[in-house]
């Protein structure tokens, strides 16, 4: 599982921090740069709000801190990611 922290700031924006542990990306056999996080997307109520692509220059254990505007407490955010060798995952969180 990826780790996340979310916090609502005073200006009503939500700060979302994502951390992908090595176990989510690597299986242990490959050496850099064979495997890395390739794609990440955020969907708010089904609408795409962020789409990102990565190269081998991203950290082996990727970390992201993002700010989202215009959300309400209780909104559902879906986080999808893929590695360049076919591993993928989905995480749905409820915004604070």
């Amino acid at each position: 599982m990826i780790e996340y922290r979310s916090k609502r700031h005073r200006d009503d924006s939500v700060e979302l921090r994502l951390f992908f542990p090595a176990s989510e990306i690597w299986t242990g056999e490959e050496t850099w740069p064979e495997r890395h996080l390739d794609r990440l997307s955020l969907h708010l109520h089904g609408a795409l709000i962020l789409e990102a692509g990565f190269g081998p220059g991203i950290a082996a254990e990727p970390f992201f801190a993002l700010r989202i505007d215009g959300t309400r407490p209780g909104d559902r955010l879906e986080i999808r990611w893929h590695t360049n060798q076919g591993r993928s995952g989905v995480l749905e969180i409820v915004l604070p």
Binding site: G53, P56, A65
Partner: protein, 143 residues
Amino acid sequence: MSPVSPPRRRFLRLLAWCSGLPLWPRLGYPDDARLRQALQELTGGTLPKYHPGVGLRMPSRAVSRLAVPVRVACRLRRVDMIALLVRDHPDPLAARFNLSPRMRPAIRTHLRILQDSEVIAVVRADGRYFRQSAKISVSEGCS
């Protein structure tokens, strides 16, 4: 009657044009071929201008080469793309974020930088490309 005849004048003017021509299109372009190609693929051929509104904050000396914290924050309007490139890297484009208007143009992430290099942030704001760069040293310490 002028001392320089018109055909000669035309020829001299052409010569002056042609002498400046090879310098013009790549003026200001980074010298590294891979970085230049990555930048061209990213922006579709236009060279991003340096802009103080693109904030790139990162340490000048890395604690760990495997996760160098990088922060991009823009003071520009209508930013819909943020990209991070590392010079001296086999694949310079490290990350590219396409943002919807809901996302604030401020992103923190960690990059893997294995040798002394330069990180370039490219931002698309209102259809135009801007950049900012910072140098980093990773050769000191024991990481």
